[in-house]
Amino acid sequence: MTLGNSLRAVVFFLLLLNIALVARAGDPENKIRQTTDKILSIVADPALKGPSNGEERKKLIRKAVDEQFDWAEMARRSLGRHWAERNEMEKKEFIPLFAELVERTYLKKVEGYSGEKVRYEGEAIEGDNATVKVKIVTQKNKDIPVEYRLKKDEKGWLVYDVLIEGVSLVNNYRTQFNSIITQSSYENLMKVLKAKVAEK
């Protein structure tokens, strides 16, 4: 093989390698992209627009979110040290209520979507933990940095925390729940939580 041919082969190989490197995004980021795209398409779907389709839209968005979020893990972390003190029945009761609380706020935010772009800023994987950084680009010259924290288990990569502008959702709830439990009781927390979730 001539020198020219070998060099051409190396160039070709490196070109392919470069393309592969540039195009790759790991599983966690792909997962986030998929779910985000799915939700954005639901919101943008003309067939689902309008208040009459509200319930249908909400149902579909919830389904998409449930595929991506590990509610049990989030609920456990949000109770912090109080989780270990709960019995099985209390745990079973708490998880869906917590999921409902978070989803309600999220749904409201998503409904207010008005064309913001989502920019993927990078991903870092360390064993079974990963973070995916995203920026929501608004029309108002303010970008919102969002960070997803994911964990891998047999179901794949699932989100266990979301940080918006550096504020962890789990930590924020943990502070609130801890404050209520230590000042009153877990029963009171459940009372407040149920009332909140039942609010319009």
């Binding site: 020198l3 020219g4 060099l7 051409r8 190396v10 160039v11 490196l14 070109l15 390698l17 470069n18 490197l21 540039v22 972390r77 040290r81 609380l101 978070v102 309600r104 706020t105 409201k108 935010k109 207010g112 772009k117 920019r119 993927y120 800023e121 990078g122 870092a124 994987i125 360390e126 933990n129 990963a130 973070t131 920026k135 680009v137 029309q139 108002k140 010259n141 303010k142 970008d143 924290r149 940080l163 502008e165 550096g166 504020v167 962890s168 930590n171 924020n172 502070t175 609130q176 729940f177 404050s179 209520i180 000042q183 009153s184 009171n188 927390l189 407040v192 939580l193 909140k196």
Partner: protein, 313 residues
């Protein structure tokens, strides 16, 4: 093709993906390892329960009604397992010895928002198109460049200072007195949010306890000092001679900002079981996050968000 061209191409193709590969080998995510945290908590829990019992006994809180708060002054025990022992950062809460007073001011600010600020901002946004309001936001942001620039310098972050200086130049000229932000839109130089409170935190000064100022909102001991310090850096305080006009201008700025963030406070309240605590924690985490970020080497290189490999719009 000629061999010299091939060699040149090969060199390019090897060098270009280096940032990408550096990520493979050098990438350090920083997820809190909850396992480490929980092991630490478990290890410390006997001492923690003892401390809690001591506090509970000394304070003797009565039955708590979720809406009223008449507990005696409490010492806040913050046991904070640190996931990375070297860091000196911790995931905890800000002490709040002034909680009753803070809650009162929180309530006052809440009413101020719903009764005064929100109606004014809604009315204003109905009359003034969003583009104009964003322009006003940009204008004020441009005017307050010295605050950010000086604090960049105080943190010895020269690329940050350079970015702010460049942004000021571009936005004042091309951006027509700062109404537009071509520095970000076209040249991809993003605003570096820096203030004196962050600078103090950067040098290791702790936040102190939580303070809710009437009208001004959530703060801390350190951030209040920061706020005062930044008053000396704000050009408006030198250019505007009358205090009343200055206050009027600042009020207008606040109405404009609120008109662009309508719904944010409502969403916080909607998602929170205890909005006061939610805001306190969010404020604390936000400030800690900013300080932590300013210490990272990443923040000190210009164009951190301009990596063409990672960002796609």
């Amino acid at each position: 093709m000629k061999s010299v061209h091939s060699i040149f191409l090969i060199l390019c193709l090897v060098i270009i993906p280096l940032p990408c590969l550096a990520e493979f080998f050098g990438a350090s995510s920083d997820p809190l390892s909850e396992e480490t945290v929980q092991v630490e908590v478990a290890r410390l829990s006997p001492e923690i329960s003892q401390l809690e019992d001591l506090i509970r006994d000394s304070n003797n809180p009565g039955p708590i009604d979720a809406s009223r708060d008449d507990r005696p002054l409490q010492v806040a025990v913050i046991y904070v397992p640190s996931p990375k022992p070297s860091a000196g950062e911790y995931a905890g809460t800000i002490p709040d010895p002034l909680e009753p007073v803070n809650r009162a001011f929180f309530y006052f600010n809440d009413k101020l928002y719903f009764w005064v600020l929100r109606p004014a901002a809604s009315g204003y946004s109905a009359v003034v198109p969003e583009g104009v309001r964003v322009g006003v936001r940009n204008f004020f942001s441009n005017v307050t460049t010295p605050i950010r620039l000086v604090n960049c310098l105080l943190q010895a972050n020269f690329s940050c200072a350079g970015t702010e200086a460049l942004r000021f130049f571009l936005n004042t000229t091309v951006g027509v007195a700062g109404f537009f932000d071509p520095a970000k839109k076209d040249f991809k130089y993003e605003k570096k949010e820096k203030d004196f409170g962050q600078t103090l935190g950067f040098y290791g000064i702790g936040s102190g306890f939580y303070i809710v100022w009437p009208i001004l909102g959530p703060s801390s001991v350190r951030d209040t000092v920061g706020f005062v310090g930044d008053l000396f850096l704000d050009p408006q305080n030198y250019l505007i001679e009358s205090l009343w006009i200055n206050l009027a201008v600042k009020s207008y700025y606040q109405i404009n900002e609120t008109s662009l963030t309508l719904g944010d406070y409502e969403d916080l309240k909607k998602g929170a079981l205890d909005p006061y605590t939610a805001l306190k924690d969010a404020y604390f985490q936000y400030r800690q996050g900013k300080i932590k970020k300013s210490k990272k080497p990443n923040d000190r290189h210009s164009g951190e968000s301009r990596n063409p490999v990672l960002s796609t719009s």
